[in-house]
């Protein structure tokens, strides 16, 4: 199996998009109205959520609550696919009841991850509202899931993956189109 990667957005373009998304989220949920809480979905939704969190702090001076969510226990395909990877850390140590939660993920494709994330959040409480922020929206979800804050809209054939990368310090690494061939 060989891997062919082609960059579709540079690190600089990624930075700009993340900055725009942070501004849009800050504007949509002013602190005067209760603000919002960010919950990043593992794996790359977490560094993205951390970047958005920092962006919002810079813009507004206030810190939205921050959580991380691993949806492995809520997947709909356990036993149907390949072996399961390691479950990463879920940490939602604030009360989500009556709050506006912005779920953050790197790529929206089938929508099933978000479906699982909604089920997971529901086990933690009853938010006032849940919104979705994604860096890349592939535009053809299998489930009726829509993103509210989008960095890039990307249309690719189904056999291509979109890979968003961050380094260990959350710096943007660019967005690639990936072709897995046998």
């Amino acid at each position: 199996m060989t891997l062919r990667k082609k960059q579709i957005y540079s690190a600089a373009e990624m930075d700009r998009a993340i900055g725009d998304m942070a501004a849009a989220i800050a504007a949509a949920f002013p602190i005067s109205n209760g603000g919002c809480a960010l919950v990043g979905i593992h794996q790359f939704g977490v560094p993205l959520a951390e970047r958005l969190h920092d962006g919002i702090v810079k813009l507004t001076g206030s810190e939205p609550e921050f959580g991380k969510l691993d949806i492995s226990m809520y997947r709909d395909d356990i036993g149907n696919r390949n072996p399961l990877p390691l479950i990463r850390e879920t940490e939602i140590d604030f009360d989500i009841n009556d709050r506006t939660i912005v779920l953050v993920d790197d790529v929206l494709s089938s929508g099933r991850t978000i479906r699982a994330a909604l089920d997971a959040l529901t086990d933690y409480g009853r938010p006032k509202a849940i919104r979705l922020a994604v860096l890349v929206d592939r535009g053809e979800p299998e489930y009726p899931i829509r993103a509210d804050f989008v960095g890039f809209k990307v249309q690719l054939p189904a056999d291509r993956k979109v890979a968003v990368s961050f380094d260990d310090d959350n710096r943007s690494g660019g967005i690639d189109e990936v072709d897995w061939t046998k």
Binding site: I78, G79, P83, L84, L86, R88
Partner: protein
């Protein structure tokens, strides 16, 4: 790495990475039981049969609860009320169970190797809840998880396992797991129950309690069964307690932060006094909590590898 096995049979078969993988997975499942909604849909629609040919209360309840918290459907079968009494072979019994489209069998049996035998012959997953004196992998995993959680590591620690080592699957599984993760293991007890041969697998053998526990970071006490006294392994329970029981005086010559562990059920006044069992160094109840998390992790991982 990824988990690729449909069965959990013995820690001897696992690499250090695989053991750590289970522990890391269990750390996340532990949080589920601490939430308001203590359930996740991970095993929804999957069927688990608890086949306890050798009876158990605590392990069976722990597995049952783990399965329920994973949203699985459960069937409990005990040997006393099963077709095994009518002379059906073990293999026929489990093949019949598999024919009901069961995904996992959690089994305890008095014959060592029984679970490995059926696992080879079944497509569904098999989790070993104890096979004779051979193996009790989930107990050792929860013990090691407890150690790792409390001490931050396993490698380099001195762990002393005290008691009826020769008859103990808990001891054997702990030894395999701890050695793989780099701990130094001492086994101790009366010479009739702790033969020198155990040195061949890389543990220190000791017949003196003080010698065994003075430098221990962790002391794991195994339950003494009354049947051993009648079989002549030691003169009396009282004598066992006098020479190998842990009390407040023992604690005085041990490390002050040494953990006191016991797989349960404890015999107060035998393996340890009530004071020690209820004292600050005891993590016995946490072992029970951690056992639930470990079993949820194991069931989740093996279920993910059972092919349709």
């Amino acid at each position: 790495m990824q988990w690729t096995k449909k069965d959990l049979l013995c820690l001897y078969d696992l690499s250090a990475e695989e053991i750590e993988f289970i522990l890391d997975t269990a750390a996340e499942f532990k949080k589920v039981s601490q939430r308001r909604v203590k359930k996740v849909p991970a095993l929804r629609g999957k069927t688990v049969v608890n086949l306890f040919v050798e009876p158990s209360t605590r392990t069976r309840v722990s597995f049952e609860l783990a399965e329920q918290r994973l949203s699985a459907d459960i069937v409990n079968m005990q040997a006393q009320s099963s077709s095994l009494l009518k002379g059906e072979t073990l293999l026929d019994t489990v093949r019949n169970i598999e024919a009901l489209q069961v995904d996992l069998i959690v089994m305890r049996h008095s014959a060592p190797g029984a679970q490995a035998f059926i696992a080879r012959n079944l497509k569904c997953g098999v989790v070993n809840a104890g096979d004779g004196a051979h193996s009790h992998p989930t107990q050792a995993l929860l013990d090691i998880f407890t150690i790792r959680e409390k001490k931050g590591r396993v490698a380099g620690l001195n762990v002393a396992v005290i008691g009826d080592i020769i008859h103990s699957r808990v001891a054997r599984s702990n030894i395999w797991g701890l050695l793989k993760l780099g701990a130094k293991v001492t086994v101790a007890g009366p010479a009739t129950l702790v033969p020198r041969e155990f040195e061949e697998i890389g543990v220190r053998v000791c017949h003196n309690l003080k010698d065994a526990v003075a430098d221990a970071d962790v002391v794991n006490l195994l339950r003494i069964q009354r049947e051993r006294q009648t079989a002549g392994f030691f003169p009396s329970i009282g004598e066992y307690a006098r020479f190998f029981g842990i009390n407040n005086d023992t604690l005085k010559y041990m490390k002050p932060d040494a953990l006191i562990m016991h797989p349960g059920p404890i015999n107060r006044g035998v393996e340890l006094t009530g004071d020690v069992a209820d004292g600050e160094q005891s993590v016995i109840l946490e072992q029970v909590t951690n056992g639930l998390a470990i079993r949820m992790a194991v069931l989740y991982l093996v279920a993910g590898c059972v092919k349709k």
